[in-house]
């Protein structure tokens, strides 16, 4: 399948605050970020708190000027963007960016008035189920309601690229599902979607491409399949580290037996070391290890009750990166 064209490219982006001469010194928020997002795809930025996700988005949106490196958004430098480019880009900030004393209805109509061909406000209101609180001042809305207003505002101009910083934070499960369905539809329409989220399960379902940041750097990137090793390729994925294996022991294992296992094994989900306990190998590097495990079962004279292979998840990769 042909690749979609890039809508956003960051090359060696570095962002620092402070000064080398000040007592606090220079603080590097982004050390080196390389990232490409494509139209018609969902690009997800993951990372622990303080990893630099929001700063990366701010540089990409033209709100911050990188100390070094280059940003290209729809073929232009967003920091010098004119109204033409800004009309093609939708932004939902992490803190919403909503005036507190204004009603959502007034705000949405105002933002729509800045665009030549805005999405009908009523369409978005209905889609995001905002009818009940359109005339309530934003100050009085719940966190989830504010999120929906900010999301609607970001989409009003029918953008080609939309940045969504934690779009589902504070949403109930039903609203979260609505938002993720909407994001899927926007992708089908050819929009480039760049989002941050802490919901790894949803990210795994939605993402065409994932960038994991840590300490201001992209430490892993690729498709979900590449990152979890399902494809056997991808940055940072061990070749073939596609699976974890679970087996149910028919009896209690001794310490000596556990330590003699050919690969590291651990109890899954906090179960006790007893007959029927589920044991897990975090990752298998290849079929040879399966043979070794079978030989080990023979050696300790234990026939598993059940053996199951599972693909690694994005959450596994995320935790692996976070603790490394």
């Amino acid at each position: 399948m042909p690749q979609h064209p890039p809508c956003l490219t960051l090359r060696h982006v570095r962002y620092a605050v402070g000064s080398a001469r000040s007592p606090q010194g220079l603080k590097e928020i982004l050390r080196s970020v390389d990232l490409t997002a494509r139209s018609g795809e969902v690009t997800v930025l993951l990372g622990p708190n303080g990893a630099g996700k929001t700063t990366t988005l701010s540089c990409a949106q033209g709100l911050l000027r990188p100390s070094q490196g280059s940003v290209t958004l729809l073929g232009e430098n967003p920091f010098r963007a004119g109204a033409e480019l800004r009309a093609r880009v939708g932004v939902m900030l992490q803190d919403g960016g909503m005036p507190q004393s204004v009603q959502p209805r007034a705000l949405l109509h105002h933002v729509a008035s800045l665009h030549q061909n805005p999405w009908p406000v009523d369409d978005l209101v209905a889609r995001l189920d905002m009818g009940d609180f359109l005339r309530t001042s934003i100050r009085r809305l719940s966190g989830g309601q504010k999120q929906r207003v900010a999301l609607a505002a970001s989409l009003l101009g029918r953008p080609e690229v939309v940045f969504l910083d934690e779009p589902t934070a504070g949403l109930d499960p039903q609203s979260r599902q609505t938002v993720f369905e909407l994001i899927g539809e926007l992708r089908e329409m050819g929009m480039g979607i760049i989002l941050t989220t802490h919901l790894l399960e949803e990210a795994q379902k939605l993402a065409d491409s994932v960038f994991i940041l840590k300490d201001g750097e992209v430490v892993r990137h690729g498709s979900v399949a590449e990152l979890t090793g399902a494809s056997g390729t991808g940055s940072g994925a061990s070749p073939g580290a596609a699976r974890r294996m679970l087996f149910t022991a028919s009896r209690t294992l001794t310490h000596r037996e556990i330590s003699s296992a050919p690969v590291s094994i651990e109890l899954d989900g906090g179960t006790d070391n007893a007959p029927g306990a589920a044991w897990m190998t975090p990752s298998l590097t290849g079929p040879a290890q399966l043979r070794e495990l079978a030989a080990w079962w023979e050696l300790i004279d234990m026939m598993p009750v059940e053996v199951r292979m599972e693909a690694r998840t994005l959450e596994d990769v995320f935790w692996e990166v976070s603790v490394s």
Partner: protein
Amino acid sequence: MSTTHAPLAPAPRPAARRILSHGLYETRNVLRNGEQLLVSLILPLLVLFGAHRLELITSAATPSIDVITPGVLALAVMASAFTGQGIATGFERQYGVLAYLATTPLGATGLILGKAIAVLAVVIVQVVVIGTAGMVLGWSPEPVGLLWLGVVVVLGATAFTALGLLLAGTVRAEATLALTNVIWVLLGAAGGSVFPLDHEGAGALLLLLPSAALGEGLRTASLEGSFPILEALILAGWAALAVLAARRWFNWR
């Protein structure tokens, strides 16, 4: 969401319409905001009526309504341009509104021009309301001076808006709230806006304050019917300095 809208390409409205739209949006927000109305209209009207009552009671010791009315106009302009815009912008900055609007087709320049339109619209309302109240109380400005009064009001609004934005863009919203109110009260009480300053000695130096330049300029225009060149230059200087400083130090987030 209807996909029948999808073929329409994203495009900005023409710049003038975006800026006008934002100006009207901001004006509506100010006029619907009770606290802003209190500071911009109700308090200046109370000062006008209070000073007039004082004049009736102690006649010779207080300035006449012809002196007080342009002074109260200066106080009102400072309230809407400096205190009102400073506080509103400070909190918009804190809540990320400025950053968000800067990413829309409005952009940073459109945002500032839209705010300028809102300030001018509110100032027009203030001039009409306070001017009418002053005339009811006996204010009789020189007819030709009303034209110069309009020019000085615009200059004063520009200088104080720039000063308010400078404060809003450099300190926390809560500090902006406190500072703009305290400065407004000080400049209103002793800064030469409502009551004329002594033009000799130390008082002459205070004439360099933007509040004094605005108050003196409005009084010269309405009482003498002439254009106050020196005061206009002082206000233009403050405006230029504040704009330059804001360009240098204003933080959008």
